[in-house]
């Protein structure tokens, strides 16, 4: 009983806010307010407004009156073949590019984790593709994919994989473009995966490998039973970040094609800033946001369940 009373007294004491604390809080709030205001104006208000606009017919340039239409924008998007084509292509691009980046990034990280001459140099230059602007990367690969004089065609002709009269138009179809965009994205973003996983690898205690070796584990068993489980938190972070990034693919596509159905973000941008159908664009943006959030929640839940099971 006495112990309970003491605890309550402690809690009461802990939760009693003194005048001085109020003053400190007030001062802290005063200092924070300008930043909070700017962040609210830049981030919170547009998010809130876009949520409201998604329930309105709000076409900026066609002279039609703005009016509340409930869920009609969402219904029209879900009934739009363009949206589903864009969605399928985005999912395809996201899965292919992120999976390849994870695999390549993992093995690159393993390689750069080893001791060999010039390791620091290679660790430094691997950042270069990642440091390139996405648009510059797009222009670079656009040149590589040019029919005739583009590097890809020249190399394939040189290797006699393409006949002298064969001159494929690599970016000729929107469906095919997704593969070439994925290659460009893998080239650029694999270093990102590598760096995150390399940091994770460096934090794995050496004793675990020593124990595994004493138990007779070879390279693959160490990889399976030590490296991958220990690296899982880094993999999770890298995957979630890349999934979100890849699903928003936009700028590189504008270099390769004028077809907005190559990604949901491209289509949303066109609805918002080419056609100025701001209500429908807001609904589309919210659909994407909710989809990404759902994806992340499911993924984290799955990983947590996996960790709990272990």
């Amino acid at each position: 009983m006495a112990a309970q009373m003491a605890t309550r007294t402690n809690q009461k004491h802990r939760f009693t806010i003194t005048r001085r604390q109020w003053r400190d809080w007030g001062l802290a709030a005063l200092f924070l307010l300008p930043t909070v205001y700017v962040l609210a104006k830049i981030f919170v208000v547009p998010i809130y407004e876009s949520a409201v606009w998604s329930f309105y017919h709000y076409n900026l340039l066609d002279g039609t009156p703005t009016r509340f239409i409930g869920l009609r924008n969402y219904q029209e998007i879900l009934a739009s073949s363009d949206f589903w084509v864009a969605f399928d292509r985005t999912v395809y691009f996201t899965v292919v590019s992120v999976a390849a980046e994870l695999v390549f990034g993992f093995f690159s990280a393993l390689l750069l984790h080893q001791m060999f001459p010039g390791r620091t140099f290679f660790r430094a230059i691997i950042i270069i593709p990642w440091a390139l602007l996405t648009l510059v990367n797009g222009l670079l690969w656009d040149w590589i994919y040019q029919p005739g004089f583009g590097a890809l065609s020249v190399i394939l002709h040189g290797l006699h994989i393409l006949g002298p009269h064969q001159d494929p138009v690599w970016l000729g179809s929107s469906a095919g473009i997704m593969n070439f965009v994925a290659v460009a994205d893998i080239w650029k973003m694999t270093p990102f995966m590598t760096l995150i996983l390399l940091a994770g690898l460096q934090s794995i205690p050496g004793e675990l490998y020593e124990s595994a070796m004493m138990d007779g584990a070879g390279f693959w068993k160490k990889l399976r039973y030590v490296t991958i489980p220990q690296l899982m938190p880094s993999i999770l972070v890298a995957l979630v970040l890349r999934l979100m990034g890849a699903f928003r693919v936009y700028d590189i596509l504008t270099v390769f094609t004028g077809d907005p159905t190559t990604s949901v973000s491209y289509l949303t941008f066109n609805y918002a800033f080419r056609y100025f159908y701001l209500g429908k664009a807001s609904a589309m943006a919210w659909f994407s946001t909710l989809f990404i959030l759902a994806l992340i929640v499911v993924y984290i839940w799955a990983l947590k369940r996996n960790a709990d099971a272990q």
């Binding site: 208000v45 409201v52 900026l60 002279g63 703005t66 001159d167 004028g258 800033f273 056609y275």
Partner: protein
């Protein structure tokens, strides 16, 4: 305690949202202007053509947003200084690349800012500038006799449903260019006058010069506006139309269908450089000046680059003329004429009008032709000895001839959306993924649906 903190956080968030001016419901379109019809007439806009020399305008500063990537020492910037010298009105130039222009104009309009007074207007934006209340309606501001001084095609390019939305700035269409040397090597004595002739010549050129890696023609048929432009010209040449008299899409039949079938046939003939499906106009020009294609369609301003030995392998070999026609149609070409408009939110409208007046003057239009090769919108200048003297490439008459056969793209507010839909269908057909008739029917149905949505 946790509850109290939650309430405090919620209250703070609410306060911040309120203070941030988050009203929720979207504002009326047009940068805060109330909906309804555009204000028209001199009085409604407070603009008077005869008061552009008013001394009170001296010292005012106007901001002009247009395409100019040459910086403060470029030819346009020098011309602007001349305007300030003559009128006392200062000009702050926002020069951007063409591809950034539309976004910047629309962002300024959405932000309801009065920072920008004068903006460039491409022909396809006239409907949006009117219906979206972006620009001032100049129909009753610029006197009729002044309007009559411009070429009909340049005036039509800045007009939407009878509303003059900008001062005609320059004239532009696509033209037909060919490489005389390559045609001569293929034993072709004159450039084709009809599309049928073009196809026959293309087959001959391909047969004779194909083994050297040369294609008969190259096109800007990337899925983009450049593809729609070429198609619009072809539709005109084959006697088709974009919309019927009731405003319904009509390009999926008659001349419109024939035009696409012809374009697909050229691809099937393998006389078109296949990279055309990935090219815009600049890529086509690059191939042309590299001597890789014998014929092309492109805008004006090609000759300085084509005849520059540091950039071109075909110096002195290129010529220009009318794009081919078909049947009774002598020629048809997509127009690209542009204008300059006054923003609705401008606080210096009269000074901006003085600027527009200057843009439409002989003095400016001649100087711009001399310095940048931009073709005038003023009719009288085409007979002006000073302009003829400035025509160093001796192509003025040929370029001017094509202006007589210009076909405007629809400039209704929904055009950008329709054009994207159409370009997708055209590209599907050209890349062999869809039959021309099916592709056009699909595009027509989608555009019809878009029109209905806009009207509902």
């Amino acid at each position: 305690m946790t509850r109290r903190v939650t309430w405090m956080a919620a209250a703070a968030a609410g306060l911040v949202l309120t203070v941030s001016g988050c009203g929720g419901a979207p504002p009326a379109p047009g940068g805060g202007n109330s909906g309804g019809s555009q204000k028209t007439g001199a009085n409604a806009n407070g603009l008077d053509w005869n008061k552009t020399s008013d001394p009170s305008l001296k010292g005012q500063t106007i901001t002009v947003l247009w395409t100019d990537t040459n910086g403060p020492n470029g030819p346009k910037a020098k011309l602007l200084k001349q305007f300030t010298k003559e009128t006392g009105i200062k000009v702050r130039e926002l020069g951007v690349a063409y591809n950034n222009l539309y976004d910047k104009v629309m962002t300024a309009a959405m932000a309801n800012t009065s920072d920008i007074d004068v903006v460039e207007m491409d022909t396809i934006w006239a409907g949006q500038y009117y219906q979206g209340h972006i620009a001032v309606d100049l129909t009753h501001v610029i006197p009729k006799q002044v309007q009559d001084g411009f070429t009909p095609s340049s005036l039509g390019s800045v007009t939407y449903q009878g509303h003059l939305m900008a001062m005609p700035w320059y004239s532009s269409t696509k033209h037909f260019y060919w490489n005389n040397k390559l045609l001569h090597e293929a034993d072709i004595t004159h450039p084709p006058r009809t599309w049928d002739e073009f196809r026959q010549d293309s087959l001959i050129i391909q047969k004779k010069l194909g083994p050297k890696g040369i294609y008969a023609s190259g096109w800007s048929w990337k899925q983009a506006e450049s593809l729609t432009c070429d198609y619009v010209g072809m539709v005109g040449a084959f006697g088709g139309q974009f919309f019927d008299k009731n405003g319904h899409p009509a390009f999926d039949k008659g001349g419109g269908l024939k035009a696409l079938q012809f374009m697909v046939q050229l691809m099937k003939d393998k006389t078109v450089d296949p990279a055309s499906l990935q090219w815009t106009e600049q890529d086509v020009l690059n191939a042309f000046e590299a001597g890789k294609i014998a014929m092309m369609s492109n805008w004006e301003g090609v000759f300085p680059q084509v005849n520059d030995p540091s950039q071109s392998k075909i110096v002195g070999q290129a010529d220009v003329g009318l794009l081919p026609g078909e049947g009774n149609v002598v020629s048809a070409s997509c127009t690209g004429s542009e204008g300059v408009a006054i923003m609705q939110n401008s606080k210096h409208k009269e000074a901006a009008l003085a600027f527009l007046k200057w843009i439409g003057s002989r003095e400016y239009q001649l100087a711009e032709f001399q310095q940048e090769g931009q073709y005038p919108s003023l009719k009288s200048l085409y007979n002006d000895p000073a302009l003829k003297k400035a025509d160093t490439s001796h192509t003025l008459a040929k370029i001017q001839a094509q202006f007589q056969y210009g076909i405007n793209r629809p400039n209704a507010p929904g055009y950008v959306n329709w054009s994207d839909t159409l370009a997708s269908a055209l590209h599907s057909a050209l890349s062999g993924q869809m039959a021309p008739d099916k592709a056009l029917q699909k595009a027509a149905a989608k555009i019809e649906q878009a029109i209905q949505n806009e009207n509902s």
